[in-house]
Point group: D2
Chain length 346, copies 4
């Protein structure tokens, strides 16, 4: 069984998750080299995982243990690093989002394509065993025609204001995950209507022109309806659950409990809830890098392409516009992202 | 413990449920007399329950065992029978909807008020033990500020076309239940946006200008968002579940299973699902008539007034309009139903 | 639909449950007359339910509204009242236990049989919809050969010492319910081994020579094993759950929650537990009286006979002896209760 | 963070699980060298994991990458290999059971102790996050006094006859896991009563003098009761669930589902069940080796000692004897395994 050594750029929160998985849970992908702009961080990680480390991205790209690249740096560096890696002849796994604006996203996707390299984007949910199993049963026709798609993604508590400022806004940062899943499980979208509110901290969110709660309604080309609810501040825990109602069956992916036991006291039984995405997705992050490594080794298509990232980005933009204008935004999938349809019909 | 004898008008599906409950599960309300326009039906019920029966509504109203009236006839007769009962000095429990148009609804509510009688409308969910318990905890402040309201109401399979024709349309017939619950649990609404689709039988629903699937988004005066999804044809069973996410706690009312056991076969465990509203609400229909009887005996306010019915009707009309126009409808609660707000803001 | 009027003797806790059901939830059985030795209690009930009342059991038996009798008096009166009713030509529903000693139990069963009347005993669990559904599927062969039977019956907190003194002991009062279910779902028993402990209140239970916790192991004639755990003081709530593991399927009857909603607070979700048998069995007590009435009207066999009560009593006695001696007790079903088998084999 | 390189002996089913975990999920323990008597197996594993391989156990012990040893060979080699490793100055993790007879077990534990090395035995359940969390809350007093312990361990289908012949019998092979958990969560045992049956394949199990189904009752020194049910052939899946009922709280560890989604079809919802111990314990096997490595690096006591293994073995022997004789076996914990108490009291 051949494996692929990954040069990992960025050792922040997400970079650390990838490093742990590459050093441990992954079976096809392995950690090759680590890069971080901060020498202390880079060195500590190199020593911890027993791999070479560098503070030069060029050095990472040139290193023989970098058979492919994973980019998990701050968002602003995603696009240039992805392009640089592709030009250096490396396939790239890039954390989402590729960029916070459409032009850069499109350009990055095109540059990688021109370089003839693979680009996989970090929509991890596609690799979670539950989601993957449901997707497969839908593909196999077991669910029939989809009538309704429903998905909830909620964080327990709002991130700091500093994070929000560079997040790209609620729809591009949070909703984009459910939008990707909607396309993946149901198909292309023709209408997006979004509603937002700032409930947990009205002043804070108003200050950055953003919301902490949203409901987004989708109409699919198939005629099915979709509804997404998102929150920055559920209060009780992290939630990521989805339902797909079809003519032959309905799949309902639960939010799991943190622990597999009940604790009973007089008149009451209670269970622990998961607190964040790391607890919610113990296997998905490892699986996405293994799938990337598999695609690289086999020269087969990746399962979440740059085009997928662009499409989800475009839907998030449509949601953002719908929220700002109070109107439904009609869209049309072009093969490379979404264009605006000329008119909206109910 | 004094009890109240009810004169029950109408012995169709809903009338029969009320008759069974009045004869059995209710503790304060009792069956007094039964009326149905069909003599065979009226006689059979009278004999089964051991109470007087009649084919004349006037006779029902005049009968000494009619201490109050419950109207469960076909929809067209709800309003005139309610008004006749009130004029005859009887308090009235009326099945929903009061009428399929706003003018008749308003007039009926006003006539009963003028007659000084009580009018309770059949939004049974307010009397289900789970919903009532959650409402009480919300009232007590245990949930904090509501951020998000989410509710699903879905039937297993579409009713016959003949029923649809006289149903008032999807939003007035189905969504109206969730709209009432939204007002009850969260408060008044300022915006309604509705999306509909005909998925299970596109031709059939197009023929009657109706939908079988809908998503309705609400914005509450408090700033909270709400989302309702409804279906005529879930395929798997009846579903009625609600979630209210607040700043201090989140309540999630489940759809119960039909039976309290698991059946395990190799690799799989399965449970029975409830098929319809009768299985879903074993206690609510009895509780609403007991609550009505209690209000009548104590001359205290009913828990779902004609004004509540009118408000839910108005929201259903706004949803219907939003669906037809593809626009958000801004509304303002007036104390007697909803008026249109002058302009829509996102 | 013909109904049967029941003369109800005894208006204590169980008597009251039966009265409420006969006045309400039952469809075939109805309340005819009530008897209680205490005139205030009898009168109050008569007025509440709108039926004749009496302080003379003879009068109850002779009353035209007593088409059959239900005995729910204190245990000591069960046997004589059952015999008196049968001699008066009345079919009898008798609360469990028939008596606290075997001789009286046998005699009572025989007297009723001699009088040619029906006797049904109050093992309500056989009439609960979940248990009945599982039993039916087992009968239909869906479960295959039973390998293991497991049942838990637990009260939340110990009853007062005064109750314990007249209870017949833990095995005859509590375990007897699971022993009846074991016979019903799996078949006859050939070995009983019991283990008891006094954990919640060691001194209190030692004082009455009783236990508050027990594990009883059964070996069935079929070769299957069974295990029952019982407690007077679970602390968390009432529990009554059963599992039957078979060669083709396994059925698991859950203990339901008190309410159908989850309440989520930071990091935790909780649900209410049922507190006692009334909350656990909302439908079984009504169903057993309807089934009795049906049997009386149709002159068909009752579903829990005096012989069934005797068999469960004998198994409880065997459990009691096993607990006292520390030995397995081998038994043999005779058609009329259990005899001791001559020797025990492992 | 220092890590410990493990020399792994044996690459069968369990050896493979350990190798995968050491190569991946473990954070403190790492794979150092692999040994298997079969050169093809050893070579393949060495290449797959990128570590040295050998067919000589002596070479494994002497290899510099063998900082400690894990023994996962066929049972007969557990004891001699453990002793050899200890004599070679290596701490040992040994799969359960140490041996199929008491004398060898005692001798092995003593030899390792004499050599001054650590010995940890493979009772993985102690390292599962759910079990560990419950144990911690019990230790912290949150559960109060234990009244009842209940545990189920069931395989889906019987292993081949060849396996059974060398398994040591049902109680030593299967029940021993629940016996270890009983001691760990509740404390020492004073009585063991076992009941066995051969239900799934009566002839097959009779031929090897063994059972496929058992119920074992424990009485603890504290006065609490315990009950274990075990099966080789549940039919529906793998089951490992435990309940501990205490005076202040009750903990119930569920058997998890295989996947986190429900699949709904008309009238029915279903979920996948776990099939075997690998699916049931995704984290426990990695955690036990990390805990072992931690103990080795810190020279701190292991969490499951040879004495623990001996104690569980002795209880399994007592269960086996109880099953064969039909009598309760009274035992007394000596600090080094269990002795028979002179007499049995109920």
């Amino acid at each position: 069984m051949s494996t692929l050594r990954i040069g990992l750029a960025g050792l922040g929160r997400m970079g650390r998750i990838h490093a742990d998985n590459l050093a441990g849970r992954c079976s096809t992908a392995r950690l090759g080299v680590v890069f971080d702009a901060d020498p202390a961080v880079a060195r500590e990680a190199g020593e911890r995982y027993g791999v070479p480390w560098t503070v030069s991205y060029e050095e990472l790209l040139a290193h023989p243990a970098t058979e492919a690249v994973a980019v998990a740096t701050p968002t602003g560096a995603h696009a240039p690093m992805t392009v640089a890696a592709a030009r250096a002849g490396r396939d790239v796994f890039c954390e989402k989002p590729i960029a916070l604006d459409r032009a850069t996203t499109v350009e990055t996707v095109e540059e990688v394509r021109r370089a003839g390299m693979l680009l996989q984007v970090g929509f991890h949910r596609r690799f979670d065993p539950d989601w993957a199993a449901v997707a497969e049963r839908i593909r196999a026709g077991e669910l029939g025609e989809v009538a309704l798609f429903r998905s909830s993604l909620r964080d327990m508590a709002s991130p700091p204001a500093s994070f929000l400022a560079g997040s790209g806004g609620f729809f591009r940062d949070v909703t984009v995950h459910d939008l990707d899943v909607a396309r993946w499980l149901v198909g292309e979208v023709v209408e997006v209507t979004a509603h937002g509110a700032a409930v947990s901290d009205p002043e804070g969110f108003a200050a950055v022109g953003d919301v902490d709660t949203a409901v987004v309604v989708l109409r699919f080309a198939s005629g099915a309806l979709g509804v997404i609810d998102n929150s920055r501040a559920s209060g009780y825990g992290y939630e990521c659950s989805t339902e797909v109602m079809g003519s032959r069956a309905t799949a309902r992916i639960d939010n799991p409990y943190r622990r597999g036991y009940e604790w009973r006291t007089p008149g009451l039984t209670s269970r622990d809830l998961v607190a964040d995405f790391q607890e919610r997705y113990p296997l998905a992050y490892a699986a996405e890098l293994d799938a990337f490594a598999r695609a690289v080794l086999d020269r087969s298509p990746v399962r979440v392409s740059g085009e997928d990232a662009l499409a989800a980005f475009d839907l998030a933009e449509a949601a953002d516009e719908s929220w700002r204008t109070g109107r439904t935004v009609a869209v049309r999938y072009t093969g490379t992202g979404y264009a605006r349809a000329s008119e909206v019909s109910a």
